[in-house]
Amino acid sequence: MTEQHHDGRHGDGRLSVLRRALALYGRLDTGAQLSLWIVVGVITMAIAAPVLAPYDPAAQDYEASLSGPSMEHPLGTDLTGRDILSRLIFGTRASLKVGLVAVGMAIAVGVPLGSFAGYVGGWTDEVIMRAMDVVISIPALVLGLAIVGTLGAGLINVIAVVAIVYSPQYARLIRGSVLSEKEEEYVTAAENTGLRDTSILVKHILPNAMTPVLVQATYHVATAIILEASLSFLGLGVQPPTPTWGVMISSGRQYLPAEWWISTFPGLAIMVTVLAFNILGDGLRDEFDPRSVTGQEGGA
C-alpha cells in the first residue's frame, strides 16, 4: 500500500474522475476554457445572487429613475429606479432554471425512451421513434404560444415547452449511439456474464453512449435561454416583477434611443452566456468526436 504513488493511474474512483476532468479541461482550446469559466461564473451568480447583488432587485427608487451608469448604479436603473445590475444578477436564475432544468427534463424523457427503443429494436423502436417524429415536427414557438395560451404564462410552462420540444432530439441522438454500442463485444461479454438486459443497457451501454448527449445539452442550454428570453419578451414567459433577461429587454425597448442601458445590458448578458455555452459545446464536441478535427476548417 505504501508504494502506491509511482504511477498516475490508481487512486480511488473519485480521485480518478477528478483527474480525468482536469485532463479534459487541459485538452480544451482556449475559447472553450474561457467559456467554461463564464458558465461557472453565471452559475455562481445564480446561486449567490442575494450576496452578489448590491440592491434588492425589486426595490424601487423613484429618485434614481432612469439614471445612467454611475458609481451607485454601475449599469444604471430602469423606469421605477430598480438597479439593473441587481436585476441582471437575479435574472440569471430564471435563465439557468429554464436552460438547465428544461434541458435536464428533456434528457430525462428523451434518453430512456431513445435508449430503450434502440436496445429493444423492432416494433417498440418504430412506435417510439415515430411518436418522437410527430413531436419534433411542432415548431417550438408555436407550441409555446399554445401551451401558454391554454395554461397561462409562467416559468413552469416555459420549462415544459422546452422539455417537450427538445426531448425527441435526445431520443434520436441516444438511440443512434445505443445502436452502434450494442454491437460491441463488451455487450456480448456482459450477456454471457449473466447480466439482466436492463443492467446491460444502464450499466454498460449508456455510459459509453452518453457523450453526444452531453455535448448536445450544452448547445440546448444556450437555445433554451434564448427561447425563455423570447417568450418572456413577448409576455408569455416569466411574469414581472420577477427579473428575467427577456422581461428586462422588453421593458426597456421603448426607452432605447435615450436610456439604452435598460435593454442593452440584459441583451449583452444573453449574448455572452449563450456564446459561452455554444463555444463550450464546440470544444467538447471537438474533444469527443473524432470526425471533427480541431483547428482545421477544411477546404469545403
Binding site: H10, A190, T193, G194, N208
Partner: protein
C-alpha cells in the same frame, strides 16, 4: 447400381448408424455438456440460413474439446447457441443442450442467467472490444462476483486482484484500477480470462481467444488456459481456425464444415489418420515452416450457399472423392474407428 458404386469407390463404405447421432457419439460416462442435433437458423432477407445444422457432440468433464473450421462455418453461432444467446435474427429451432444432465434450451431466461458467467463462462476474440472502455479492469473482473455471489464492490475488487494474479498479470494491486486501454492485447485477454474464472465455472467457452494476438502471446494465453484446465478441472470448449492450436492444447476435436460436424474424435487420431476428405484438405493447407513447400494444396471451390445447400453431402461439390451417391445421400456421423467419427460414406477415402 452396386456395380456402378463399386466402380467409382474409394475403399470400403461406412455403415450408416441405426440410432441417432447422439446415441452413437455419447460416451460411457455422463458428459459435462452434451449437445444433440443442435439447429440454429437465421431468417435473412434471402432466405433461411441454417448456420448450425444438426450438430451433435459432447464435452467430458475436465477435457479440452476443440472446434475447428473455416470462417463462417458456424463455429461462433454454435458457441452462442450453447449459451442461448444467438444474435437476432437467429433462433435455435431444434436440439438439446444438456449441461450437467439438464437441457439448457428448456430453461427460463432467469435460470439461464444463473448459468451464464457462473457455470459456463466465455472469452472472446477481440479482448479490446470485449472489455468496456469506460470502466476500470478491476470493476469488470469483479462483475460476475457481484452478479452471482452478491459481493460488495470492495470485496469484488479484492477478489479481482487475486484473479489477476492467478492469470499472471504482474503488479495486480496497481493494475486493478487501470482502464482497458492501458493494457496490451495479451494483458487484456488475461483480464478477460480472469473475469471468466471469477465464479469458478465448470466450462469455459473460448471463441478464438488467440486469433488477434502475437504468436508469443498466443502461446502464453494457451498455457494459462491449459494450466487452469488441469488445476481446476475446468472443461474448455476451444473454438479456433488454427489447427496448430488444436494439436497443441486439445484432447479431442470436432471439425466443422458448413454448419455440420464432419469429423470428430481424439486429436491424435483425427490428425494422424483423418477420415473425412474435408479434414484431409484442411491438414494439407497447413504450412509447415520446416519444410520447403512448393505450393499449398488449397481445397478447390467455395463454401456452399447455406440458403440452398446441396441435396447430398455439403462437401460433395468440393470433394475430390465425391461419387454420385454423395450428391444424393446426406451422410451423418458414422463410427470409423474407436471413438472416431466421420460424416462420409467412405470409411477412408484416398
Amino acid at each position: 447400381m452396386s456395380e456402378e458404386v463399386a466402380a467409382e469407390g474409394h475403399g470400403p463404405r461406412t455403415e450408416p448408424s441405426d440410432g441417432s447421432e447422439a446415441d452413437l457419439v455419447s460416451g460411457a460416462d455422463e458428459p459435462l455438456l452434451s449437445v444433440e442435433n443442435l439447429t440454429t437458423q437465421f431468417d435473412t432477407g434471402e432466405g433461411v440460413v441454417r448456420a448450425v445444422d444438426g450438430v451433435t457432440f459432447e464435452i467430458r468433464e475436465g477435457e479440452i474439446l476443440g472446434l475447428v473450421g473455416e470462417s463462417g462455418c458456424g463455429k461462433s453461432v454454435t458457441s452462442r447457441s450453447l449459451m442461448s444467446l444467438v444474435p437476432s435474427p437467429g433462433s435455435i429451432v431444434d436440439g438439446r443442450v444438456e449441461f450437467q444432465g439438464e437441457d439448457l434450451l428448456e430453461r427460463s431466461e432467469e435460470e439461464l442467467r444463473q448459468v451464464r458467467g457462473q457455470d459456463i463462462s466465455m472469452i472472446f476474440q477481440e479482448p479490446m472490444s470485449a472489455l468496456n472502455p469506460v470502466f476500470d479492469v478491476g470493476w469488470q473482473i469483479g462483475e460476475p462476483l457481484r452478479v452471482h455471489e452478491n459481493l460488495s464492490t470492495a470485496a469484488s475488487r479484492t477478489r479481482a486482484v487475486e484473479l489477476m494474479q492467478r492469470v499472471g498479470i504482474p503488479s495486480a494491486e496497481d493494475r486493478v484500477d487501470a482502464y482497458p486501454h492501458q493494457f496490451s492485447g495479451g494483458m487484456r485477454q488475461r483480464a478477460m480470462i480472469a473475469m471468466a474464472l471469477a465464479c469458478e465455472p465448470d466450462l469455459l467457452i473460448a471463441d478464438e481467444p488467440t486469433t488477434s494476438l502475437d504468436v508469443t502471446i498466443e502461446a502464453q494465453i494457451l498455457e494459462i488456459i491449459e494450466e487452469l484446465n488441469e488445476r481446476q478441472n475446468m472443461a474448455v470448449f476451444l473454438i479456433t481456425h488454427d489447427l496448430g492450436v488444436v494439436a497443441e492444447v486439445c484432447d479431442r476435436v470436432a471439425v466443422m464444415y458448413a454448419g455440420r460436424i464432419v469429423e470428430y474424435g481424439d486429436v491424435v487420431d483425427v490428425f494422424t489418420d483423418p477420415r473425412h476428405p474435408y479434414t484431409k484438405g484442411l491438414l494439407d493447407c497447413v504450412p509447415d515452416p520446416r519444410r520447403q513447400q512448393e505450393s499449398f494444396d488449397p481445397i478447390e471451390g467455395q463454401v456452399p450457399d447455406l440458403v440452398s445447400p446441396p441435396a447430398g453431402c455439403n462437401f460433395a461439390p468440393r470433394c475430390p472423392f465425391a461419387s454420385r451417391d454423395c450428391e444424393r445421400t446426406d451422410p451423418s456421423l458414422r463410427e470409423v474407428d474407436d471413438d472416431h467419427y466421420s460424416a462420409c460414406i467412405w470409411e477412408d477415402p484416398s
